[in-house]
């Protein structure tokens, strides 16, 4: 059965601040590093699971107004925080799971990024952290 899922009103929080109204794209990926365990006598590479190295990227409009994007992010550079993403604003459930990355690290924050006559848009990336999924 074909299914089309498109995002219109996902929930995005960074350090418990709801940034849904400033966010235009978000991507949280679970990454499990692969370790090569191929040995003599094998004709194909084989791998085993290593450390988790999760990532979360998001595209945000950058605003300097009180308690908005810049105020949310400026003190997080070089620190760890918690990020949550959910596909819709409906209640958390098995069909609308809440994805959480705890202790994710923000390395870089563009403090000014834009062109003449355009709204400032920034891309940020959180790396590492522990991934959990909640369905209730």
């Amino acid at each position: 059965m074909a299914t089309n899922t498109y995002l219109t009103n996902p929930v995005v929080t960074v350090n418990s601040v709801a940034l849904t109204g400033f966010c235009t794209a978000a991507d949280m990926s679970r990454v499990q590093e692969s370790l090569d365990k191929t040995t003599f006598g094998e004709s194909s590479r084989t791998y085993t699971s290593g450390l988790a190295n999760n990532t979360c990227t998001m595209t945000l409009f950058l605003t300097y107004a009180a308690a908005e994007t810049y105020a949310t992010l400026k003190s997080l550079v070089g620190t760890q925080t918690t990020i949550t993403l959910k596909a819709t604003s409906a209640a958390t459930s098995a069909t609308n799971p809440l994805h959480t990355l705890t202790n994710a690290y923000l390395e870089t924050l563009p403090v000014l990024s834009g062109s003449l006559g355009e709204l400032q848009v920034i891309d940020i990336e959180f790396t590492g952290g522990t991934y959990t999924e909640s369905t209730s």
Binding site: N15, A18, A67, S75, L76, T81
Partner: protein, 46 residues
Amino acid sequence: MKYTVVSDLVGTPGEEYVPAEGINVEALLAGGFIKADKDNKKDPEE
């Protein structure tokens, strides 16, 4: 230390803010999203 919500982006303003695991409270304070409640109660033995 107790905290109170200031911005509606983190909760209902005026309500107590209880940080979840991994939340950087200092960043929320610096950004003006929450405020720390001053505990003016004196030690009863004083």
